[in-house]
Point group: C2
Chain length 460, copies 2
């Protein structure tokens, strides 16, 4: 935001400029200068204010929120990262949380409600106006990670027989009662069923006397409250949407989702894929050591199991290794390169699945491509590793053995790198989760078995 | 899009319904039924039509584009994935490309121009109207992956002394000459400098006689033509933007970027990170075998080098292994678990850097967290592996050796998983690229050296 110098690198200097502000905030918290704190934060964009608060040491952050109480603007609260927002809600008095629920759009209010413990949620909901309360409870009733949870119930719906002029006069009459941000108005029939969408840009350029029914377009997306958020994000991407209407199972318009929420969904799905591929369950910059251990130990446990499978294979050939110790020196090379080839294919496949590039015939073509390129890279690296082994150990048959097992492992890696994630997807599992453990175990087994097995046959 | 059944899984059935359409298209191409083809595609949403075309076998796709020629709507062309779009542009006659350039928004036209070979681009540009040509050439002059390349030059800018009524009358007079999609109008001074932004929703709810200068807000973002696309995407996310104005170095308003383009940037940056972490340079579902080999062989080469470093370490201890062959059986366990722990930390760190969660003091806390959780997981798995080794080989000192080297490797993995990407970032390199090779080499070296070294000292 603050960086306008032409060639400056993107991230660092914003942080430097913030440093002075962060120091001032720390001082203000120490001096309990609530007034300065509240005024400073209110003058900033909520996203910038949230960033500054997240830069504080965690206990100072909590003290700052405690000091501010009801004077912490709800807009800032909702911009905080999950862990900080949850911490802030814990510290805030009930009255401040209730005010936030009242001021925020329904999707943001639902986020805050999710943070509360059951008893406290009940208590705070009871103090709200009945209409507000009913609306929030309806939001919470939708399953997590569905369109129903993500949508806001603030939107603009107008009847089809209205004219453009009528619509604009209506908006002016409502003024600030309209949702703060919207990019289109929805056209509904008397049964509240969605029949069309009019972009604000269209409303703007159309003469006053034209009817909404003449300029409305069919909604591009078809989002219902129970739709999975990943599917919703895909619709937004595919049709380049800034916002979209949400219908209930009877086709009635019940909410609106905006694009910025979808960007968050896309980011978190991407993070999930990447972490799953590298065997981490979840991650947050503010995780404690204990959270970190819990997120990683289970996968390390699975890896422990698969590593001992590889050990088991090696132990079959202990006699061979005892006679030819060079095998012990070289066997990690076959396993490392094979594993690397497998996880390359896996990464490409998981991305292609996420971007829906592997539907229908494309999957067959991709399997061919993976196996064929496994063959080509296998040939290249079989020769490379063979030559290095020959120079090092001056044994032609050893070089031939490692080259052959290298080739076999690469082709196998090509197969498993694509078939494991595709298979998991077909079984209804997330292709990113568990794939890499499977692929690495499969390639390890193949690498050690083919190398040591061939060596036992040829070299003894 | 076609899926409305309540509990249906998201992806598969859309593909099934498409299958009939794809078969019809293949028939139409075989029968050279251009009219049916053109009408069918025009009736679909461009994104759906592009999806259907991408489902065709590649040579049928090319034939379809050839048949359609100028009747392939530019909206569909721009919705095709990179490889398909480039293929289509190759096949289309110059006149059809020129029409597409004319009809598309400037950012999309620039994308098409980038696909053309220099000679052909010159030829086609020469046939365009001089104004159009100058505008497109200006777009191409901005560096790739900057805001200048991404922006469209179609936007609405109005003087601050205009009233809301005046603005709406102006929009109605322009009608279809206005950009098709926009969510805000920009307010400029006589020197074309951006001084404010008015959201269409605000324009709509404000009485006719209010001046734009009274309702305009400061632009939240601060995007200049030379800003990197990743930085632009960050601004969109941070401030929840649907669109944003772009200024030149003198502060003049020169373009507008819309959120859908930013979603594409976010997706491609995410893909890049994930692939880099798993050592692939680039990937596209439509890559040939040769492209695939080229994208992966270089990293396999680097991995070959690092694998032989590990081999070198092992070869130092050949004498020890010859005497205690159990070491050869167990050493891959230490390396596999250590490597896994390192890449877990790496994945979390790379994501945290991408989401800017590691600015300032957060980095120090993260290093502590990684090392501390390495210690805790190290203790857990040292005990686990030690116990298994004890049961298997019934040798207390061997169990103690593997436990100790396990612990050392985990702590080391904790350090390298976070310090390698942070170090690369500080050096100005992309922390996702090359990190995993470094981390795996470092953990392999530590694993083999500590395990075999300790074994030589203790067990011989």
């Amino acid at each position: 935001m603050t960086d306008t110098a032409p060639q400056a690198p993107p991230a660092p200097d914003a942080a430097e400029i913030d440093a002075a502000l962060v120091a001032d905030i720390i001082d203000a918290v120490a001096e309990r200068d609530t007034r300065w704190l509240a005024r400073t934060l209110q003058r900033m964009h909520p996203a910038d204010a949230a960033d500054a608060l997240e830069q504080l040491p965690y206990d100072t952050f909590e003290k700052a929120v405690e000091l501010l109480g009801g004077e912490l603007p709800p807009d800032i609260l909702i911009e905080l990262r999950d862990a900080y927002r949850e911490g802030a809600v814990d510290v805030l008095p009930d009255a401040a949380v209730a005010t936030a629920l009242d001021e925020l759009d329904s999707d943001d209010a639902t986020t805050i409600l999710e943070d509360l413990e059951d008893a406290r949620r009940e208590r705070i909901l009871e103090d709200l106006a009945p209409v507000e309360r009913a609306q929030l409870e309806r939001g919470l009733a939708y399953e997590e990670e569905t369109a129903g949870r993500l949508m806001q119930t603030e939107f603009v719906a107008l009847p089809e027989f209205w004219s453009v002029g009528h619509a604009i006069d209506h908006a002016r009459a409502l003024g600030d009662e309209l949702p703060e941000v919207f990019y289109e108005v929805y056209v509904t029939d008397p049964g509240h069923r969605l029949i069309g969408v009019v972009a604000l840009a269209t409303l703007l350029r159309t003469p006053r006397d034209v009817l909404l029914s003449d300029i409305m377009e069919d909604p591009m997306s078809d989002i219902t409250t129970d739709m999975d958020q990943e599917e919703v994000a895909y619709e937004f991407q595919k049709y380049s949407l800034a916002s979209a209407p949400v219908k209930d199972s009877a086709g009635r318009l019940v909410g609106m989702i905006t694009g910025d929420d979808m960007v968050d969904v896309i980011q978190s799905e991407n993070t999930e894929d990447l972490l799953s591929l590298l065997n981490v369950r979840s991650a947050d910059g503010s995780d404690t050591v204990w959270d970190t251990v819990k997120a990683r130990a289970p996968w390390l446990g699975v890896n422990l199991f698969s590593a001992f499978i590889a050990s088991g294979i090696i132990s079959i050939f202990q006699g061979t290794i005892e006679k030819i110790v060079a095998l012990a020196v070289l066997m990690p090379v076959v396993a490392a390169l094979g594993g690397n080839a497998g996880s390359q294919g896996l990464a490409v496949t998981v991305r292609a699945i996420a971007e829906r590039h592997l539907d229908g015939g494309a999957a067959r073509r991709a399997v061919f491509r993976e196996v064929a390129s496994g063959l080509v890279n296998g040939l290249i690296f079989a020769v490379g590793v063979g030559v290095i082994a020959l120079i090092w150990f001056r044994q032609v048959d050893l070089a031939l053995v490692i080259a052959a097992s290298m080739l076999a492992t690469f082709i196998w890696a090509g197969f498993s790198g694509i078939l494991v994630p595709l298979g998991l997807k077909r079984l209804g599992a997330d292709p990113a989760v568990a794939s890499s453990v499977f692929v690495l175990t499969l390639t390890d087994v193949m690498a050690f078995f083919s190398f040591l097995g061939l060596a036992s046959l040829v070299l003894l």
